[in-house]
Every structure is written in structure tokens, then in C-alpha cells.
């Protein structure tokens, strides 16, 4: 029931939004819907409704595909993240003006539907459906409301991910015909009879798709451009929630289905991820555009998560779990600030900013806190996650962990660079007449900051929530 609501509310309200007349209606209606979803998500997390987390009905009988959705620990967490993200985005974008607002908000809600579906579906074909459904609205959003190079960039992003998902489709089919009784259900995927060589082959079909989505090092080039060109509200979703799709898929669909292959290639992948971390961090140091900087830093973080998960160390995996949530929160916070800066000052170039701390002290403080969370300072949420992930990495291999650790320092370098160039020093031409943060975004940011601190001081609930997912993955693994 809960699961069904999580999909239906955004879907229906999205379709309704298409036909809203005025901008106010569209905004308020979508905000309302997203808050509704948030409530449902909380209900799901609260654990009072654990009896109603699953929903299952026939869909395409001839194929053995069913419309079956459900929530496990990770699912709960990510649905919550998804719900929070959209509410925050709608709220913080409340006084932004978009042309064709009805379409904009409708597409946003459809995207939420797709994301929810991805996190919920326990049927491979359904999963693929929602995987694409999340992509299409993103495509339209980016290419009609984005920056000046939007069309080409978004198209690249689309084709890139689309190739990946098509390969995944082939992989799904491949496994499907190996499952007992030809079904797409998650369980029967887990029971698929695959020889080692078949696993190794199918593994890559899936992994490339997820690697592009996350993105992992050599497949990442679509991301900075896409983030730079997309409208910031969409970028928040892309980087806050959508990249989690990749990780989620790895955890839900890749690891337990191909345990042996995952073991075989874990070294390759971890190497890739760590390379990517350092690579992205180094590039971030030289970025002059806030959005690109955040994009690269998020590439680095995602790389760490992926690597930590492939160590198949419980602590590390647990760290990944909460880090998925935390990174979502932090990066959204950063985007909100970036958005404010861009809307207010009309530039994202670090070289043109400066001295905001004097003009906008509150904004400055909030940005600083978010930035510190981004570099995983203790008592911010991501410290716990990164600590555990590095620990897992360390148990996996000391040297890998040591090398990856360098990215901690680099992260400090580029983040402080950003803070200094944006906030400190004397005001520049652009920032001379800057005002402080307005109430709406301020509230949003404060909410986020509270989440950041609370989870940083007392992460335990989140850890408990996602414990079962890790256990299932590991059990599958130690078979």
C-alpha cells in the first residue's frame, strides 16, 4: 500500500499538473503533492506499516513479468531521500519563475515517479521501465529549461545513459532466460543458474549501465556538462537522487545476482573508482565554475561509495548505505546555494565572486556548514559514512585506502578554495549589491543543516534502517 502510494501520488499529481492553468497552481499543487509523498515516505520509514510495504499484481503474464514493488531498508531510505529532495527543491524554487510552469512541475513529478519506481520495483522488467521513465522527463527538463548549450549537452547525456540501459536490457533478458521458470522477479533473479563465464559476461552488461549512471571514472564526462547546463532544480535531483540510482542498482541488482563476477572484478572496479576519485578531485581544484566544481566533487564521492561497496566489507557497505542518503542531502544543500548565487549575481565564476560573507552573512554560514559536510568534517553527517567506507577500504587493502585517502586532502583544498573565493576577500563587481538569503530557501537550508548535524551526531537510526539490505547482500555473497 505504502509502496503503491509512493508511486501513484506523484504520477497522478504529475498528470494533473499538466493541466493546471496558472503558475501559482502548478507550484502549490506540486509542492503539496511532494509533501504528501514525504509524509507517506516517513510513514514507511517509521515502521508502523511494515505489514503493507509490498504490492504485487499481474502485468504481462505471457512474459512472467509482474507489477511487484516493495520496500526494504535501503528502499525506505532512498524513497525518503527522494521525497525530501523533491519537497526541498519545490520549496526552495518556489519564488523562481520558469516558463511553461505547468509542464515543468509536471515533468518534475513524473521524474519523481520514475525514481520512486526504480527504488521500489522488485521485478526486473518493471525496474527497467522506471529506469527509463526517470530518464525521459529529465531529458525534456534539461533541454527545454537549461543553459545555452543545453540541447547538445542533454542529448549527449541522454544517448550515453540510453546506451547503458539498452545493454542492461540485454543483460536482463540474458539472466531472465537462465532463471528457473523464466520470471523477472527479484528472487528468481537471485536464483538464476549462471555459470561463472556467463556471470562474468552478463555482469558487464549490467555494470556499464550503472557505471554510466553513477558515474564511474571513464564514463563520467557527460556529468559536469549536464549539471552545468541543467536548470538547478533539476541538477539537484540529478546529483542528489538520480546518481544514487546507479549505486542502488549495483546493490540491488548487480551484487546479489552476480556474486562471483562481482568478486572477480572487484579489484578492477575498485581501482577504477579510486582513480576516478583522485582524478575528479584534481580537476575540481582547477574548476572556476561552482556547478562544475560541485559536479566533480560529487564524482569523487560517488567513486568512493562504489569502491567501498565492492570491497564487500560489511562496515564499508554500511557506510555506503548512509552515505547515499547523506551525500544526497549535502549536495542538494550546495546546489541550493549555487542556485541562489547564480540567480542573484548572474554568475557562477569563482573568479568573479568574492566577499559575499560581508554582504550575506547567513548565506555564508550555511554554505560553510554544507561545504564542511562535503569534506566530511566530524559531527557532520558524511563523516560517519566516509569514516566507515574508508575503514572498509582499509580492511580491503591498506595501500588502496592510503591512496584514496589523498582525496580527503584534495577535497579540503578545492572546497576551501570555493569558500574563500565565494565568501571571503573584498566584494567584487558582481557581489557589490548582493543581498542576503531570503526566507524560503533559508528555511530549507536550515532544515538541511539540522539533518546534517543530527545524522552527524547520532547516525544510529539510519544504520539500523539499512542493516538488512547489507545483510542480504553479504549472505548472497558468502554462499
Amino acid at each position: 500500500m505504502i509502496a503503491l502510494l509512493l508511486i501513484l501520488i506523484p504520477l497522478i499529481s504529475g498528470l494533473v499538473t499538466f493541466f493546471t492553468k496558472s503558475e501559482r497552481d502548478a507550484k502549490s499543487w506540486s509542492l503539496f503533492a511532494s509533501i504528501l509523498v514525504l509524509m507517506v515516505a516517513f510513514a514507511g520509514v517509521s515502521g508502523y506499516f511494515d505489514s503493507q510495504l509490498f504490492f504485487d499484481t499481474a502485468w504481462v503474464p505471457s512474459l512472467g513479468a509482474r507489477f511487484s514493488i516493495g520496500l526494504d531498508g535501503m528502499g525506505k531510505m532512498l524513497c525518503l531521500l527522494n521525497a525530501i529532495a523533491f519537497s526541498v527543491v519545490f520549496a526552495s524554487a518556489y519564488q523562481n519563475h520558469y516558463k511553461k510552469p505547468a509542464e515543468f512541475y509536471a515533468l518534475m513529478l513524473l521524474m519523481q515517479t520514475g525514481l520512486m519506481g526504480v527504488f521500489l520495483s522488485t521485478d526486473a522488467l518493471l525496474f527497467y521501465f522506471f529506469w527509463e521513465l526517470a530518464l525521459i522527463p529529465a531529458y525534456f527538463l534539461c533541454s527545454s529549461w537549461g543553459g545555452e548549450k543545453r540541447i547538445a549537452v542533454t542529448f549527449k547525456f541522454f544517448i550515453y545513459t540510453f546506451i547503458g540501459s539498452l545493454l542492461m536490457l540485454v543483460g536482463i533478458l540474458y539472466v531472465y532466460f537462465k532463471t528457473p521458470g523464466h520470471s523477472f522477479a527479484l528472487e528468481s533473479f537471485y536464483q538464476a543458474k549462471l555459470s561463472i563465464s556467463e556471470e562474468n559476461f552478463a555482469f558487464w552488461l549490467f555494470f556499464i549501465a550503472f557505471a554510466i549512471k553513477m558515474p564511474i571514472f571513464p564514463f563520467h564526462t557527460w556529468q559536469p556538462d549536464a549539471y552545468e547546463q541543467a536548470p538547478t532544480s533539476v541538477t539537484m535531483i540529478l546529483s542528489g537522487v538520480m546518481v544514487k540510482m546507479g549505486l542502488f542498482a549495483v546493490i540491488r541488482w548487480l551484487f546479489p545476482v552476480f556474486p562471483h563476477a562481482a568478486l572477480n572484478y572487484s579489484h578492477v572496479i575498485i581501482i577504477l573508482c579510486v582513480t576516478g576519485m583522485l582524478y575528479a578531485s584534481f580537476i575540481a581544484i582547477r574548476q572556476d565554475d561552482i556547478k562544475r566544481l560541485i559536479a566533480y566533487s560529487s564524482i569523487a564521492h560517488i567513486g568512493l561509495m562504489c569502491a567501498a561497496f565492492f570491497t564487500s566489507e560489511q562496515v564499508g557497505m554500511q557506510g555506503v548505505m548512509i552515505q547515499m542518503f547523506n551525500h544526497g542531502i549535502n549536495v542538494i544543500g550546495l546546489w541550493i546555494v549555487a542556485d541562489l548565487i547564480e540567480n542573484q549575481l548572474g554568475t557562477r565564476k569563482l573568479s568573479e565572486l568574492g566577499g559575499l560573507a560581508t554582504k550575506a552573512p547567513t548565506l555564508a554560514i550555511l554554505l560553510v556548514i554544507m561545504a564542511l559536510a562535503n569534506i566530511a568534517l566530524p559531527l557532520t553527517n558524511s563523516f560517519v559514512g566516509e569514516f566507515m567506507m574508508f575503514n572498509g577500504l582499509f580492511n580491503y587493502n591498506v595501500w588502496v585506502a592510503a591512496v584514496a585517502g589523498i582525496s580527503i586532502i584534495l577535497a579540503a583544498v578545492y572546497t576551501l578554495n570555493m569558500i574563500q573565493k565565494v565568501l571571503y576577500g573584498i566584494t567584487s563587481l558582481a557581489t557589490d549589491d548582493a543581498g542576503d538569503i531570503t526566507t524560503g530557501p533559508k528555511i530549507m537550508m536550515i532544515v538541511l543543516v539540522i539533518v546534517v548535524i543530527v545524522l552527524g551526531v547520532y547516525p544510529q537510526p539510519m544504520l539500523q534502517l539499512t542493516n538488512d539490505t547489507v545483510q542480504t547482500a553479504l549472505n548472497k555473497f558468502h554462499l
Partner: protein, 636 residues
Amino acid sequence: MNNLVYLVPLFPLLGFLINGLFRKSLSKRTIGIIGSGTILLSFIVSLVLFFDVKANGGSVVTYFNFIDVVSFQIPFAFQVDQLSVIFLLIITGIGFLIHVYSTSYMYEESSDHLGRYFAYLNLFVFSMLLLVLGANYVIMFIGWEGVGLCSYLLIGFWFKNDNYNYAAKKAFIMNRIGDLGFLLAVFLLLNKLGTATYSEVFEKASTSLSTMDVTAITLLLFVGAMGKSAQIPLYTWLPDAMAGPTPVSALIHAATMVTAGIYMIARSNVLYSLSPFTQDVVAVVGLCTAILSATIALYQNDIKKVLAYSTVSQLGFMFLALGVGAYTTGVFHVMTHAFFKALMFLGAGSVIHAMNGQQDITKMGGLVKKLPVTTWTFVIGVLAISGFPFTSGFVSKDEILIAVYAHSPVLFWFAAFAAILTAVYMFRLMFLVFFGGFRGTHEQEHHLHESPSAITIPLIILAILSLVGGFVQLPKIFGGTDFFNQFLAPVVPAINHESAATTTAEYYLFGGTIVGLVIIFAATRKLFAVNQFEDSYKGIRKILADKWYIDELYDAVIVKPLNSFSGFLKSVIEKSGIDGLVNSVGRFVNYASRQLRLLQSGQVSSYILFMVLSITVLFLVFWNQEYIIQFLQKTF
């Protein structure tokens, strides 16, 4: 009583929150009162704790599970024992004095900024307390990074000036390098022992850790200490950190934060005792730092820089002590050093205040007439640091030297040399600032005045402390007993150097010190107390004045290459390399399309020709497909 411990960090935290959130609406007075009052409260609590611990030993108070996964627990717990209590007293006590001092020193700032200042300061105290109270390495690490953050924020307090910001960034990043070492050490502990809680670690250490592991762990921890306590090679941030307000330099970069490294090593003395190699490394590094920075201090003209380098060199002394296994002595020197170095910084602050912002000692001189209190308290500080008999510095430094002597005479002579240098540059500073004729401008001379009581009272208190602070640990020969060592004994075993050899050494040292000081006094008087300066030093002096060009070296060897490397990645590898590859696929498709459509020539006969040819090809493929299949199987 121990369950009160949470109050100690709580008060500063509250102060931080109040000052931070409502700073716009509060008046400067209230801000100051809240800022220093909270510290006073936690100082009182700390005193209570101190006596409680003195009476009935230390204990661990666990609050909640910070991280609790199967096979992996990190409790959020405080450990109240002799060591932490000592540090609590130092932090809160001196912290309180400095807060009081700040209320007056920072009074020109607008209430907004003043609130920010006190908020940061309280936050610093909070994290410092967390650092010393934590019952395991993770909690310590939380405090460890927290203090780094606060020092970053406070160094860059006047954020309009970009040089200050660079200094702040430098400090934070160098600390981060150390922190990475610390973190790896913690991981190694967790990996080998499955726990980071002190008690468990220390009891398991001797049994279930190989020498290799211990050495690795201790070395990595020491890397952390290098960063935090400004040892070679990570010391260069500390002199730059003087960009911050002077009270901050006093509190963070002299009294408390920089001694975190010493605390950490003293805390994990069990581990260090297990690995002699690391101990030697610590000793040598400490000694080198002591000498190097002392030499640099000789020719610095910025009053705060001189003090900064002397701090570095004193820290070197402390590490030397730890390295030779005299942990208690190290801690003891931390305490005494906290007294007199805080004193001198605050004095310097008062001077700068009087000279309104002038920090160049070549422009000062003869301030004794206008600033008596500042002068004489400062003189006490100088005597203490240069080890004038029976001052606190004398006691602690003597003890260090003797411990070193007991360990190895060679090190001792170097250490003694460093001690002499200390005396030299300190006297130089004293003469140039307070005695001789005034070399500043007239306005400055006119402006000179003694600072208000909020500044002088802390100076006086600290002066007294630096005078008498040594008596808790007076060597037997002077009829004292080592209360300090006895107090710390349950946590940190003291080495007994009351052997015959060392007692005689004590005499020599005592004599040597007096004689040496007299000579140095005269010498410096002659050498430095002059009224005209050549505008730029020559030869060896220049090298010293330019700090052995270490900063330039780092810049050339590390910073610049890294920058250009990342630039290379950004513009070459990323743009033309990976992204270029991706785009070229698309371009190739376009090109292929343009070529392929020429096949559609529009001529029927050519179409039919193609058809006929492809039919023939199909036939050939068809009749020879066995061979083709075999070929394919061979190739793939």
C-alpha cells in the same frame, strides 16, 4: 561526580550557540560575558573533577553508541582521568583568561563580528575538550578535526584580507595531511584490534600487536601529531597562523591546540613504549624542529613571528621529552609552556594594541616607560622560557634535558644548544621591544599607553603562574617532590631519573644555566640592543631571516607541480582525452552517414548493379560458409 563531565564541553557549546545565533541582537558586553562566563563555568566544573579524580581515580562515562554495526562499535564516551583533567584545567583556565583578555582586546570589532569571534572561540574550546575527554581515538579525532576547523576560522577571522585567508587555508590543509595519518592509524587499530577504545587498545596492545604494527600505528599517529603540533615537515603553517587575532594565537597556537599532539602521544604512551624506533623518530624530529625554528627565530622582526617560532621550538622540546620516554615531563612542559607562552603572546598583544597594530620590533623600543605592567610581566615570561632558575620553565626544561641526558648525551648537547638559542632570541626580543630608545613614529609614541585592566589582570595572573608553576614538580635537590608525576602516575608512568648521575647533572645544569644566562644576557645586550638596523640582512643572517627558504621549497616542489598537474588533467586528459573520445564517436557516426548516403546515387542501374553483385557475394558466402565459419572460430 564524574557524571558531571558532560557539563564541561556543554557550557562552551551553549556559549557557541547563543553567541552564534543571536550575535546580532546581543550587546558587546553580554557577548563577552557569555563568551568568557561559559568557559569560567566549565573551569569550575573541571576543578571539581580534578579534586574528584585526585581523590578517587579516573573513570569512563559512556553516553550513547556513536556507530554500532555488527563487529564494529564506537561508543560516544568520555574518559575522565588524571591526564585529561590536567588538560581540562589548562584549557579552561587559560582559555578563560584569554577570553577575558579578548573582551577588551577585540572591543573595536562590531558586535556582529565580536559575537562571531566568541562563538568560534567557544567552539574551539568545546572541540578541544572533546579531544582530551574522548575515551577512544574516534572521539579524539572528532575533537582533533574540530580544533583544526576552529583554528581555520579564527586565523581567517578578518576574512577581508586574502593573505589571512591563504594562511588559514594553509593551516587547515597541513592539518588535514596530518589527520590522514591519524585516520589511517585508527583504521589500522580497528583492523588489528577491532576497537579504538583506549583501555581495550592498551591492554591488548602488548599481546596481540606485532612490533611492525605498533611501529606503523605509532608512526602514523605521530604524522597526525606533526600536523597538529607543527613539527618538521608540517610546521610552516604555524608562523603564518599569526595572521589571526593575538588572543587566538595565544590560546590556540601557543597554549592548547598545538599541544594536542603531545596529549595524544602521552595518552598512547603504552603504544609508544612498545616501539623504540618510533620513539627515536619522535625524539629526533622534535630536536630538529627545536633547533631549526630556534635559529629562524633569531632574525625575525615580527614580534608575533618570533613568538611563533619559539612556540614551534618549545613544542620540539616537548616531543624530544616524549621521544626519550619522559611522558610526564612532556606534559609538564606543556603546562608551563602554556603559562609563559600565553603570557608572552598576550603581552605582545598588549604591545601591538599600544602601538595600534604595529608588529615590527625594529620600530619599537623603550616601551618600559609607557607600559610597565606589560613589560615586567613579559620579562617574567622571558626569564621563564629561557629557564631562569626556579621559574616554571627552568623546572620543566631542566627535567627534559636531564631525561635526554639519561637517554643519550649526544642528543643532550644538541638540546642544550637549542635551549641557549631560545634564551638568545628571547633576550633579543625583550631588549628590542621594551628597552633602548623608541624607534617608532611620533603619533605612535604619542599613542602609547598601558592597556586596560581586562588585559593587564590576565597578564599578571599568568606571570605569577609562570613564576610559581614549577613548584609542583621541583627536583628533590631543591627540596621539592614530584607531585605532578605522582598525580599522573596511574595514567602515564614517569621514568625515575633521580639516580646519582642525574643528580650531579642537576648541579652542573643549575650552575650552567645561571652562568649561561648571564653571558647570553650580556652578549645579546651588545649584539642586538642597537638602535639602527641594516634594512636587509646579509649572508647567513639573510638565510635565517628568510626561514631557510622552506616555504619556497614546498611551493616549488609540491604546490606548483600539483597545480600544473591538475591543470593538465583538466584541459588535456579530460577535454581532449576522455571527452574527446566520447564526442568523436558521435562525429564518426555523422561522417559515416555522410559517406554512406552517397551509395544512394539515384541511378537505377547502379542500384541493380549493387543488387546483382551482392547476390553473387551471397552465393559465394553461401557455398563457402563452412570455411568461413571455421575461419571465424579460429580467429575468435
